[in-house]
Amino acid sequence: METALAFLCGIIAAASIYLMLSGNLIRFIFGLVLATNGVNLLIFVSGRLSHSKPPQIAEKAVVPAEAMANALPQALILTAIVIGFALMTFVFILFYRTYQALGTVNTELMRMAEPREDGRGTGEKPDADAHSPERREKPE
């Protein structure tokens, strides 16, 4: 079971990196969501899998009688999910604002902070490209 899940982690990581590298903000978000889940799965598997062994001990016992499920990775994942959720919300809003302001989700066309030189002195007209991203040829 661990082996299968380990491969699944790998597949998720590969797919998410493919999406993140595609140069499109929307695909990046999908990649990010996928990667977050992949990582959570990875932590879960790292804590070893066990079936039907809830982490409970008998009344008045100090240590569990037999091996039981590891609760710590689940606590870690829970924290990671909560943090990831907050981050995701921020990323959604940031990307939406960016789309509204720049009018594109293609990262190749987002050059406001680092304008292309095109023979001009660096930053002579820092906004020259900002207003006409569509005027340039699309990279594909």
Binding site: M20, L25, F28, L32, A35, T36, V39, L42, I43, V45, S46, G47, R48, L72, P73, L76, T79, A80, I83, A86, L87, F90, V91, L94, F95, R97, T98, A101, L102, T107, M110, R111, M112, A113, E114, G121, T122, G123, E124, P126, D127, A130
Partner: protein, 500 residues
């Protein structure tokens, strides 16, 4: 006394809450923010004095015994970092009074600034790997917010790239945590130091070390992972640039130093060999990249990369003297770098632009600002007797001592190249005649005279640079003690787990 370990983390969050609550009245909010920063500075200074006098301290939150609960640990490296963080926090809060307009204040500038300080201090003080991840997230969220607070196109563009690559680094970090936990069953740093020695498959452990190295390498801005930094650091308001430049990459450097001196020390030839190459290449890329820019803040941003290379060089050489050099370099560089950003803001306020071509005549019009820049810039370049000289001297000596002649030579050459960039800024912005005296006068935005709230923190930080430069003894002593603790991990382990 244990409360001193918690205060540097808790106070900024209290300030954040109160400033958020008082955001209706901006005058009062700024005052509260300043007061909060001052209290934070006091608490950090007390912690620094305490640790400097009685050695490393550790505390178990909620009295849960060490490997199970959350540990706060303050050795010399931690308290130096916390101290500088508080100084920069206070300086930037002062500077913000003049620079941050009411639009940004209304958007929550002060609460975010304090949350950032709290997150950074938390990362410096925690003794637990997962907790370090949480503090990284707190710090990142605050920095994301600060970076795009103005909502201009440049900021959104820079912010998107910054967020993308940093989130990816965070995912790598937590994957590393998961794998390390799977192998050792613990996340407490002191406990990890003991647990990694019992892992059978050392090769797998080295692979995990590489994951951590990549994750923190992105955060620290190491070659070839630094591209997010020059893309974003010149877009936000100067006060934000300054605090991000001073703190964020250095948290990555701190995490690298902590992990690669305490946990991943089983294959030094391999891991630290990679770090050495990365460090040297980073130094060169940063300094050569800076030569191609003509904008004040972009030159400074790319220089951050170059300076990070020096610190990693110190870690990679991994001798007591080299580590002392890395700590001293951190201490010196955080102050100088933030101050240079603040000065770029000053000159932009006077001349109305960050473009070197349009700047000019500052030396004649504002000699005081020119002197402040001179101190910081040539300290960065490593001119004796300024603080950067000692930092570089220690690293070069450490390199020569253990026979790493190439690394020592690189440190010297990059220092010279840094002088080129700083001289370029000096020549263009300060020395050459102002635009009104040139022939081809192009219209440039109206400038204002510098504000006292801007001059005050800049002067303070410049004085600090001078003090470190002229009286390096005590600072060096602290750095040496930090290095002693880093090369003797049993001090850290004993402080956290108790003598066993």
């Amino acid at each position: 006394m244990n409360v001193l370990l918690v205060l540097p983390v808790i106070l900024p969050f209290a300030s954040a809450a109160v400033t958020l609550w008082s955001s209706g009245e901006q005058g009062r909010q700024q005052l509260i923010s300043l007061l909060g920063a001052l209290l934070h500075l006091t608490a950090c200074a007390l912690l620094f004095i305490w640790v400097a006098q009685s050695g490393m301290q550790a505390m178990q939150v909620g009295d849960w015994p060490a490997p199970f609960g959350i540990t706060l640990a303050a050795d010399h490296l931690s308290v130096v970092m916390v101290m500088v963080t508080a100084i920069l926090g206070f300086a930037v809060t002062l500077y913000s009074r003049a620079e941050i307009d009411s639009d940004l204040l209304g958007a929550g500038y002060h609460p975010l600034l304090h949350i950032l300080l709290g997150g950074v201090c938390g990362a410096f003080l925690t003794g637990d790997l997962f907790n370090l991840y949480v503090w990284f997230e707190v710090m990142l969220m605050a920095s994301f917010g600060l970076l795009v607070l103005g909502r201009t196109k440049e900021q959104l563009d820079g912010g998107v790239k910054y967020v993308m690559i940093n989130l990816f680094a965070t995912l790598l970090f937590i994957s590393g945590i998961g794998l390390l936990y799977g192998m050792t069953g613990t996340l407490n740093l002191a406990d990890l130091h003991l647990a990694v020695q019992e892992v059978d498959n050392q090769a797998l452990l080295t692979a995990v070390a590489a994951i951590f190295m990549t994750a923190f390498g992105i955060k620290a801005g190491l070659f070839p992972l630094f591209f997010w930094l020059p893309a974003s650091y010149h877009t936000p308001p100067v006060a934000v640039s300054a605090i991000l430049a001073g703190l964020l990459t250095k948290v990555g450097v701190y995490a690298l130093i902590r992990l690669f001196s305490l946990v991943f020390t089983f294959n030094i030839a391999y891991t630290h060999g990679i770090l050495l190459v990365a460090g040297v290449v980073t130094m060169f890329t940063g300094v050569l990249g800076a030569a191609s820019y003509n904008e004040f803040r972009r030159i400074l941003s790319v220089h951050i990369v170059s300076q990070v290379g020096y610190m990693i060089l110190g870690l990679a050489l991994f001798s007591p003297l080299a580590l002392a050099g890395a700590v001293f370099y951190l201490l010196h560089n955080m102050i100088v770098k933030s101050n240079l950003f603040l000065i770029s803001g000053l000159s932009a306020r006077i001349c109305g632009t960050f473009e070197l071509k349009k700047l000019g005549g500052l030396y004649h019009g504002h000699r005081y600002v020119a002197i402040l820049f001179f101190i910081s810039a040539f300290s960065l370049a490593g001119f004796p007797p300024l603080s950067g000289f000692w930092a570089k001297l220690i690293l070069v000596r450490a390199g020569l001592e253990i026979g790493a002649y190439g690394a020592a030579a690189a440190a010297v050459i990059v220092g010279l190249l840094t002088t080129y960039s700083m001289t370029k800024i000096w020549g263009e912005a300060f020395w050459k005649p102002g635009p009104e005296e040139q022939d081809a006068v192009q219209s440039r935005p109206e400038g204002k005279s510098p504000d006292i709230w801007m001059l005050l923190p800049v002067t303070g930080l410049a004085c600090l640079t001078l003090i470190i430069g002229l009286l390096p003894g005590p600072f060096l002593q602290v750095a040496e003690r930090a290095a002693h603790e880093l090369t003797h991990p049993e001090i850290y382990v004993n402080a956290v787990l108790g003598d066993k």
